[in-house]
């Protein structure tokens, strides 16, 4: 399972990087929370809306892909924009 964790980070990096105007400000942290692994995304303030999307549509799609990637390893993951 340890093998996969950097991979999840890399997936999130790829997705978020493609969405924002200021990729240098992306900061993704992995937080262990009991059985769950939570990924906290921080971006430049003016990019927050782009990562979340209208009515949260973009971040929902990001979560969907991350969860699909986690399914096979049995990981429980969540993604938050902070």
């Amino acid at each position: 399972m340890k093998v996969r964790e950097p991979m999840m980070q890399a997936l999130l990096q790829t997705l978020v990087r493609a969405l924002v105007d200021d990729p240098d400000s992306i900061d993704i942290r992995q937080v262990e929370d009991g059985e769950w692994t939570r990924y906290e995304i921080r971006v430049a303030p003016e990019d927050t809306g782009k990562v979340i999307g209208k009515q949260g549509r973009t971040i929902r799609a990001v979560r969907q892909l991350v969860k699909a990637a986690a399914v096979r390893s049995g990981e429980r993951v969540n993604v938050d924009v902070i």
Binding site: M7, T14, A61, V62, Q64, L65, A68, A69
Partner: protein, 235 residues
């Protein structure tokens, strides 16, 4: 006149060979860009990826339909810093999808077919089930993000669609035959039928499938993501 071809192969050499063969030119006449190095993946099983090479041939060629701008940029460049071609929408789509699949640890290939109306991506592989998701939710998410990320190509307004192992196609065919049966019921009984919520594309499939069906009409009601099609008797 620049002709550009991209090919995949197990190794860079193999991909290069395929591309050169396609163009029918020699290596020395072309500009070669290695877009992706091959990856053998973990234990050679997961996350492996073929090499992707772009070969651009700038030559006399057939001569017609020369694109503006392409040639002009070459003049003041030194040997090695040849112009970075602006990626086309199709290249952009391909790169994004390959990146995402690679990081999702999914061993799949991305084939892109294009015509004047659209860009159709077909993802195939042995282990792509998780890419579809329950009721196609993961596939929808992937398509939504790909459209969003590659949306800034004012020169290319063609529609983009992504399918995984023919999932969408099969689902659409099933959808068409289901709604035809429902239309038959509506025409017979004279009472309306409400379908389950669908995304815009699937609603369009339903409207199109029934547009010439006698005795009924279709309408979308409600708002996304719960918007659904209602089949009712024609007034």
């Amino acid at each position: 006149m620049t002709i550009s071809v991209e090919r995949r192969g197990k190794t860079v050499d193999e991909a290069l060979h395929l591309a050169l063969e396609e163009l029918g030119v020699e290596k020395e006449q072309c500009q070669i860009t290695i877009l992706e190095e091959p990856k053998s993946g973990w234990l050679g099983l997961i996350g492996s990826r073929e090499a992707l090479v772009r070969v651009e041939y700038e030559g006399p060629g057939p001569g017609v339909g020369e694109r503006e701008g392409v040639k002009a940029r070459n003049t003041d460049d030194k040997d090695d810093s040849s112009p970075l071609p602006v990626p086309s929408k199709v290249e952009h789509v391909h790169e994004f999808l390959t990146d995402v699949l690679g990081h999702m640890d999914i061993d799949a290939s991305v084939d892109i077919i294009e015509d004047n109306d659209g860009i159709y991506c077909e993802i195939s592989g042995d282990d792509v089930g998780s890419l579809i998701g329950r009721r196609g939710q993961t596939l929808s998410a992937l398509q939504y993000l790909t459209k969003l990320v590659t949306g800034r190509h004012p020169e290319d307004r063609r529609r983009l669609s992504i399918d995984v192992e023919g999932y969408r196609k099969r689902r659409e065919e099933r959808l068409r035959s289901t709604v035809r049966r429902m239309a038959e019921q509506v025409a017979k009984t004279g009472s309306s039928v409400e379908l389950e919520p669908m995304d815009a594309h699937e609603r369009k499939v339903v409207h199109m499938a029934l547009q010439d069906y006698p005795g009924i009409m279709t309408e979308s009601e409600g708002s996304d993501p719960y918007r659904k099609v209602v089949i009712s008797p024609a007034p």
